[in-house]
Structures are given as structure tokens and as C-alpha cells.
């Protein structure tokens, strides 16, 4: 179940030599959990910094460049500030749910991170229903948002949470269907198998036209899933204060904030895995060095993250009715049509293979 990197092989053997099998398994799981938590924190902070710099460049500004070289430590300092802040809340809040909500959001983000194949051996949980697991997990995240909005006892927070619910439930359909289109080529849900299939060319090349349509639909729906602009009605600043996390402060707010950015990374990572060959290098140029897979994976994911940032700083926010029109009248019928086209292509063997 747990495939460790070759460097960690030594640690694995050493752990099993000094303690009983069950204890060793437990320690190993905790170690892996800690590694993923570290990845979560570092990636989250790094993405916030990138977002701020990219946003600044889009708006002809400079962005944070004072703390550390080119502002590299800026988000670190922000996190420290948030850690030291007082946790305030509303008097009539449902305290239990109010405190629970950030963990829902953050745990789902972490669970989704576990199945992502960073490289051949850096893959914590290679489950045989990988894509299904990812889709299921990404929709649990919205429960955290709904809980947060409901329990804050604040009408703006509630409106934000309800909008988020509407949005996530609608757009999940598109995410699922666009990934299903690609599953028709791969014939498997397991992420490592999906990567294997792409050794004959990335799926976006193999599936050509319907794959490109599926990718576009996936990116639109993915942006909506993460509640980012232009679909950020859940936290529309100009209408709802800060939406569902209006009443959160300090570290609880930071959890929501970090989870949003990690979700963005996860959406980009799924797209990388399903459409762009995960850790496979272009034309197999670095196939002999397996560790470079991490580099390729992150590079592809970063390009897609940049694309989502580009969306955010270009497009104006949609109204609720426009949002639902886009999903139910355009994306969904197109998606269903696309699946039929893809099925025909796979049936007639019209995929492009190298």
C-alpha cells in the first residue's frame, strides 16, 4: 500500500528491524503524515506568495519583495502573525461546529494530496479507485465551508456558504464527467495506471479534440470548485464581507486560506496527472533519472496554477444565475456530447499513439 521513495527504503528496513511489525507500520504512517503536513504547509505558503506576486504583475505592481530575497519569507511572516493572533468568534456561534469547520476543509485537502503521484515512488496511497476517491474527497471539502458559514451565526457567512454549496454541487458534475471522458481512454481509475497509459503520449495528445474540450471544461469547473474568481461568490468581498469565513480570525482563518490554495494545487495536480502525463518528462528526455519526475510534475502543475491565477486576475465575478447557466446549459450538455465523441474515438481506435 505504501510505496516509499528509494531513499526511504533504508528508514523502512531500519524501522522494521528495531520494533514489531505493527509498531513499525504505525511509526511509518505517522512519518508519512508528517511529511505530507510539511508539504501542505510549505506548498500553501509558497502558493500564497506566488499568487500575490503574480497578481501584482498582472496589475502593474511589484508585490511583496521586502521580507527575505524577493519576498520569499513574506508569507512565513504572515503565518507567524496569524499564529500569534487572538482567536475571536461570535457569541451565539455554534461553538462545536464553528471550531470543527476549518479541520474539515484542511483534512479533505490533505487526503486528496495523498493519492497524487508526485513521481514513480513518491506516491503515498496508490488506491485502485484513485480518480473516484479524488472526486469524492473534493466534494467533502464543501461540508467544511457549509459548517463554517452555518455555525458562524452571521447572515453573510450563511449566504456565502449556501452559494458555495450551490456552486460545488453543480460543478462537481462537470469535473466528474470531464475526468470520465479521459477514463474512457485509460480504462482504469488507478492513478499510477493512468500514468502508465500516458507513456505512449500524454492523454491530451492521445485524445486530441475531445481531450482538449474535456481539459477546458475541467479547468473551468476546477476553478469553480476551488471557489476562486471568477467563481468566488462564496467569499465575494464586495458583497459579503469575506463570505463563509467572515467570523474566523487568526489561525482558523489561515486554515481556510491555506486550504483554498492547496485545493487549487490539487485541481492543477489532477489535471497534470490525467491530461499531461503526471511525472513523465516530455518525449521521455529524463526517463533515466526517476527523481526528476517530481520536478516535471511540479513544473506542469505550476503552469496550470498560473493559468488559474491568470483567470482570476482577468475575469469579473459571475452572478449566481450566470454561474448556473454556464454549468447547466453549456458545460453539462457539451460534456455529455464530448463523452460520446470520445467513446466513438476510442471505439474506432482514432487516438494518437506514439
Amino acid at each position: 500500500m505504501i510505496r516509499a521513495l528509494s531513499i526511504t527504503k533504508g528508514i523502512h528496513d531500519w524501522l522494521f528491524s528495531i520494533m514489531s511489525e505493527n509498531a513499525a507500520h504505525l511509526v511509518e504512517m505517522i512519518l508519512i503524515a508528517l511529511v505530507y503536513l510539511a508539504i501542505f504547509a510549505i506548498a500553501g505558503l509558497f502558493l500564497v506568495l506566488i499568487e500575490r506576486r503574480v497578481a501584482a504583475w498582472f496589475q502593474l505592481r511589484i508585490g511583496p519583495n521586502r521580507v527575505g530575497f524577493q519576498g520569499l519569507l513574506q508569507t512565513m511572516a504572515d503565518a507567524l502573525k496569524l499564529l500569534s493572533k487572538e482567536l475571536t468568534g461570535t457569541e451565539k456561534a455554534d461553538k462545536f461546529l464553528y471550531n470543527l469547520a476549518p479541520y474539515f476543509v484542511i483534512i479533505t485537502a490533505l487526503m486528496a494530496l495523498a493519492v497524487i503521484p508526485f513521481t514513480q515512488d513518491f506516491h503515498a496511497f496508490d488506491i485502485n479507485i484513485g480518480i473516484l476517491f479524488l472526486i469524492a474527497i473534493s466534494s467533502i471539502g464543501v461540508i467544511g465551508i457549509l459548517l463554517g458559514g452555518w455555525s458562524s451565526n452571521n447572515k453573510f457567512a450563511l449566504i456565502g456558504a449556501m452559494r458555495s454549496g450551490v456552486q460545488t454541487i453543480s460543478y462537481e458534475l462537470s469535473i466528474g464527467l470531464s475526468l470520465l471522458t479521459m477514463i474512457l481512454i485509460t480504462g482504469t481509475l488507478q492513478l499510477s495506471e493512468i500514468v502508465e497509459v500516458q507513456k505512449n503520449g500524454w492523454l491530451i495528445v492521445q485524445g486530441h479534440i475531445p481531450a482538449i474540450i474535456a481539459f477546458m471544461i475541467y479547468m473551468i469547473a476546477g476553478t469553480a470548485e476551488t471557489n476562486r474568481a471568477p467563481f468566488d461568490m462564496a467569499e465575494a468581498e464586495s458583497e459579503l464581507g469575506a463570505g463563509f469565513h467572515t467570523e474566523y480570525s487568526g489561525m482558523k482563518f489561515a486554515y481556510f486560506f491555506l486550504a483554498e490554495f492547496i485545493n487549487m494545487f490539487i485541481i492543477a495536480a489532477i489535471a497534470t496527472t490525467v491530461f499531461f502525463g503526471a511525472w513523465l518528462s516530455p518525449f521521455g528526455i529524463t526517463e533515466s533519472i526517476p527523481l526528476l519526475g517530481v520536478f516535471w510534475f511540479l513544473a506542469k502543475a505550476m503552469v496550470l496554477v498560473f493559468l488559474m491565477m491568470w483567470f482570476r486576475w482577468t475575469f469579473p465575478r459571475l452572478r449566481v444565475d450566470q454561474l448556473l447557466t454556464l454549468e447547466w446549459k453549456y458545460l453539462l450538455p457539451l460534456n455529455l456530447m464530448n463523452i460520446v465523441i470520445m467513446a466513438l474515438i476510442v471505439w474506432q481506435n482514432l487516438t494518437i499513439q506514439f
Binding site: V54, A56, W57, F58, Q59, L60, R61, I62, W310, F311, W313, T314, F315, Y330, L334
Partner: protein
Amino acid sequence: MSYFSDIYKGIKTLLTGMSVTGKYFLTSRKGAITQQYPDNRDTLKMFDRFRGEVIMPHDEENRHRCTGCQKCEIACPNGTIEIIWDRGIDEETGKKKKKIDQFVYHLSMCTMCGLCIDVCPTDAIEWGQNFENSVYDRTALTRVLNKPGSKLMPGVED
């Protein structure tokens, strides 16, 4: 079939928007509008329309254009401008004539509304671009705009 043409138009306009912001993204490092203020203090040039403070320009012979008509004092909504004037003998005509002694400007009370500058018939005062006005004592913000020993520029009143 407006359904498909709508989709085509939608994608096209979205891409147009993205190309605009993409161009900004690529050129932003050259054309950034952010001023990194204390670092570029020596080279910083404020914009012509920036309202920093009211100044009274003098020419090289220490002459200003203020006739002491007090229109600015009347126009000022919060008593920022006080004109202390006197009657002196005009050198050319030998008649008694009104002239300013001190043009007192309380920067601490000024809201930068610009009414005094709009109302001035002789363009004697204008906007200055200096904004570094922090002092420890607010009396330091009370300024006399006409330089000592300055005189009215000839020909202003004609």
C-alpha cells in the same frame, strides 16, 4: 444555432481578455507603477497634478504675483489662508496702494480642496509637489508663503 455561436463568441472574448492581461503580465516589470518610496527618494518625481501643498512661486528678482486681493482667504472653507496686508506708497505712481505683508498658510488645516488656486485672479499661488510634511510640532506647519523682502511683479494688476 445561436447556441454554438454563443459558445464560440464566449471563448473568443475570454481569450481576448486573457491576452490583454497577459501582455500586462509580461511588461509589468518594466512599467510597474509602484514607487518604492524611501529607496528612490533622490529620483522620485511627483506628478504635475499631485496636490502636496500650496506654494507661491517667486521669480529670480524675488518678485511674486500676489496683489493681496484676499479672494483666496474668502474662498478657503476652513481658514487655512490668512493674509496680513498693509497700505504702502507705490513707487511708480506715488499713490497709496494695498500690498501683502505676509501670506500665512496653515498647512495643518488645509484639505487640499484647491479652491484658493482656482479663485486666484493673478495665478499667484499653485500646487507644490512636496509631501514630506511630517514635523514634531504643528506650529512648524504654519508657513509664510511670500519670501521676506519680496515685491509684486510689475504688470500683474493691468
